[in-house]
């Protein structure tokens, strides 16, 4: 098993959250295996039909279609936003939008894979998927996506595709127009101001704080994307040669390159929640631990989550967020259309609406979804630019300036090895 080039990368496992999803992930993978010969045998030329360049024809054909949008359904605020999108596309384009609520994006991938394995190359039941990272990589790799179409969307002009590296590389995987961006996320640390006056703004400071406050910091089991991302965050900060992380890992220098991480974790683990003898499963559990005052500092992949949770009475209003001075890891998420979707025109029109300044502005509303826009301010019409600038953020949400720059992603092979090594060192005690 060792030496095999990993195709997916746990760092890619990201927002939308796939917590509590192992089971379905697994089903998806079993299904992928069932594809086996079928995928290899037939690599169809990508005939782009319908053609997104002929946009009026797409809009005309979309009228009357029912679009099944498979999207993570764990948050009613987000579900409400999707419902609002439904009312808008119904009024403007005559499209009926059905939100298929998923516990995990991989559920939708499983469905498409099953359809492909069963030979259903048209009339598929999934029209649009909220996706990024590993699910996108697997669908792209297995020829399960329709496109390219995303960069032909009329509203794509508001996106700075050349200047923003997130738009064309989804966790290092080139998007190639197979998915349209619609939301952004970044690692933030959440802390309860009742117990933490000056939050630790670096990995070293966090270690010192944890030692002084044993049991009050937790990160999820690294089998979960958020837990894996925490390890990645620490490594990116402590590695002697940061540029080395951008190249594939190998047996020769893996031990040396990751030594600072293990030294750090050796020191941190005894000071973790439960002394590292148990780990929270996912970000939902972290939020509950923070609310129950079991822990005082944790992390999240959604900078607006804390504000929304405070408004929703899930977290005490003493909770605030911050990022490390050296920066934190961030990413974008997308919508994609399966190769066999029954309503591709409707799906493209919905994706285009999602990219409209109006829809993006509403999405960023802290009282609603709270998801950051993927549009570039300088490309917006002046009135919309003002509207975005004037929008208030939630009580615990950082400004764009405070969030700062993202850290670069290490090459995927690092994470695979780090997770295996973590399990060896701390996962079986």
């Amino acid at each position: 098993m060792t030496g095999a080039e990993p195709i997916w990368n746990p760092m890619m496992l990201s927002y939308p959250p796939n917590d509590r999803t192992g089971l379905r992930q697994m089903l998806k993978r079993l299904l992928l295996s069932a594809l086996a010969a079928a995928t290899i045998a037939a690599t169809p030329a990508l005939a782009i039909e319908p053609d997104p360049a002929n946009w009026p024809a797409v809009v005309a054909k979309a009228r009357g279609q029912t679009v099944y949008w498979n999207a993570w359904g764990g948050e009613q605020r987000i579900n409400d936003y999707i419902a609002w999108v439904g009312t808008q596309v119904a009024a403007r384009y005559g499209i009926t939008l059905e939100h298929v609520k998923l516990a995990s994006t991989s559920d939708a991938v499983s469905k498409v894979v099953a359809e492909k394995a069963a030979g259903r190359s048209a009339g598929g039941t999934v029209d649009l998927i909220w996706i990024n990272g590993p699910n996108f990589a697997s669908m792209k790799q297995n020829g399960l996506l329709f496109g390219p179409w995303a960069e032909s969307l009329p509203n794509f002009r508001f996106v700075d595709a050349a200047g923003n590296p997130e738009i064309r590389r989804d966790f290092t995987v080139p998007t190639e127009g197979l998915e349209a961006p619609w939301d952004r996320a970044q690692i933030v640390f959440e802390y309860d101001g009742t117990y933490v006056k000056a939050p630790p703004r670096s990995a070293e400071a966090l270690l010192a704080w944890a030692k002084a406050n044993p049991g009050r910091f937790a990160f999820p089991d690294p089998s979960n994307f958020l837990g894996a991302t925490f390890l990645k965050q620490v490594l990116s900060e402590l590695a002697a040669d940061k540029a080395r992380l951008l190249e594939p890992a190998n047996d020769v220098d893996f031990p040396a390159a990751t030594r600072p991480l293990w030294a750090y974790l050796d020191a941190l683990t005894p000071a973790l929640w439960r002394g590292g003898r148990a780990y929270p499963a996912n970000s939902a559990e972290l939020r509950r631990l923070l609310a129950d005052r079991e822990i005082a500092i944790t992390l999240s992949f959604n900078p607006a989550e804390a504000s929304a949770a405070i408004a929703n009475r899930e977290l005490p209003d003493s909770v605030r967020t911050y990022v490390f001075d050296g920066g934190t890891i961030g990413n974008a998420s997308f919508v994609a259309i399966p190769f066999n979707a029954a309503h591709k025109e409707g799906a493209m029109v919905v994706a285009d609406f999602l990219l409209s300044p109006e829809a993006q502005l509403r999405k960023q509303d802290p009282a609603g979804f709270g998801g950051f826009t993927v549009l570039a301010a300088e490309r917006l019409p002046p009135d919309m630019r003002q509207a975005f600038a004037g929008q208030k953020r939630g009580i615990a949400t950082l400004s764009t300036e405070e969030l700062g720059a993202h850290l670069p992603e290490p090459h995927p092979s690092w994470m695979t090895r780090i997770e295996a090594e973590w399990k060896k060192r701390y996962g079986a005690r």
């Binding site: 997916w8 089971l23 089903l27 929640w273 997770e419």
Partner: protein, 561 residues
Amino acid sequence: MFRFAPAATILLVLGPVAAGLAGTVLPAFGYLPALGGTALSLDPWRVLAGTPGLDRSVAVALIVGLSTTALSLAVVLAISAASYGTVAFAFARRTLSPLLAVPHVAVALGLAFVMAPSGLAFRIFATFTGWPDRPPDLLIVNDPWGLSLCAGLSLKEIPFLFLMLLAALPQTDADRSLAVARSLGYGRVAAWLKVVVPRLYPQMRLPVLAVLAYSVSAVDVALVLGPTTPPLLAVRIVQWMSDPDLALRFVAAAGAVLQAVLVVVALAAWRLGELALSYLARDWLIGGTRRAGDAAIRGFAAVTGAAMLVVLPLAAYSLVAWSFADFWTYPQAAPAAWTLRNWTGEGARVGHLLANSLLVALLASALSLVLAVGWLENDVRRGREYAGSAALWIVYVPLVAPQIAYLPGIQILLVRAALDETLAAVVLVHVVYVLPYVFLSLSDPWRTFDARYRLAAAGLGASPDRFLFRIRLPMLLRALLTAFALGVAVSIGQYVATALVAGAHWPTITTEAIALSAGGNRRIVAIYALLQSAIPFVGFFLALAIPAIVFRNRRALRGAG
């Protein structure tokens, strides 16, 4: 027509399972062309064997499975022995059955909230003593030996076994046997253990084995309460399957095969225990001792009963309280403020979801009940009334084989048949899981039905059909309704199968609950757990109420208690 029931049943249950199972065994031995595995090899097993902490994952799973089963059975038998025929028994009957309606995960979450250092127990203590002001950092939930997992599983399995006991009891002639034994001077407990249990247990064996198989491979409950460093084997399989390193999929497949073997080992170990116990107990059974550990067993029953009487209401309170909670944190034992907002927010959404769930559950349970009755009646007519046909074991395969191994195969099968996204597909997949439980619940009462009724009816000139519809089915009304209600509960609780098959067109309360639980908001999780419990709750209530009304002037048919 009864001839076809077994074949149809096997096809419906085993077809999908077999279709998917091959997808696990082959990769376990390195064959998976999609990932370059074109030759058989033992590499996956080597990697599996080299996994850090695997021995622990396997051992704890085995310990948890066996101890959960032994504990649940012991509690059920002890409480029955100590209280049969008393008010306490009637109380247990009324209060335990409804618990069956609550999904496993909801019970696990409720228990976790009661036991955790920031949970209800500590909050109540802290409310009165003012200490500790912050939750202590104690490893109670997720303990490395699976004690909290065992407790959580037992809370769900005790009501299940108790219901199975109630369903089997009328066939054991318990009342008259006990009366005779008591008149010979045997104590209440001794009489129960010596004359009722030896006839009762064989009828409960299948449910007990189902509990064992479930407890060894439970994933959902283990994710909430089970150990994490390392997790149990079943949880590790799930993690391997979702690991970004695709090579681990071979290991996951090998793990799934190991999980199946583990279940078989557990079943074999249990069987050995049965044999040993029955051998050791033989002399004691016929030795004539009139009192047999009465005090100890009564004590055990009292302690466990009391524990459940404390924990269950607290867990139920936590679910209900969360559903109405505004902000609620440690050390408050009750929410700082109450609100209807949580419910009004969800109320508008759930109507059609409940309707879909109910429709699926009713259809799946009805189909399962018809197939089960057809099969059992066929056995009777072919003279296999007591033994049952050996093929009956096939029906229980879905209970033993790890779900994860064959569900993807089922999905592909349905798409091929263009049945996906249809009501029929959802119902058929539910039948795979509902049917075994319906059988489980029905077959023993059916087979132990006094054969003399049939002879008497035949002697009076009644046809087999007339006997079935006029005598047997009405007399087995309680067992039929219990089986049906159990089927409904199983259907409502089906997480993975529903999510996989129901898709976009048949969203149910369960698919919605799965999606929303991913967000982790306790209020929402509580609301959906309560809604999910509502349908089976009504089912079990009717299963108890209808026989009581129908048999209001048929004392012997009302059953014991």
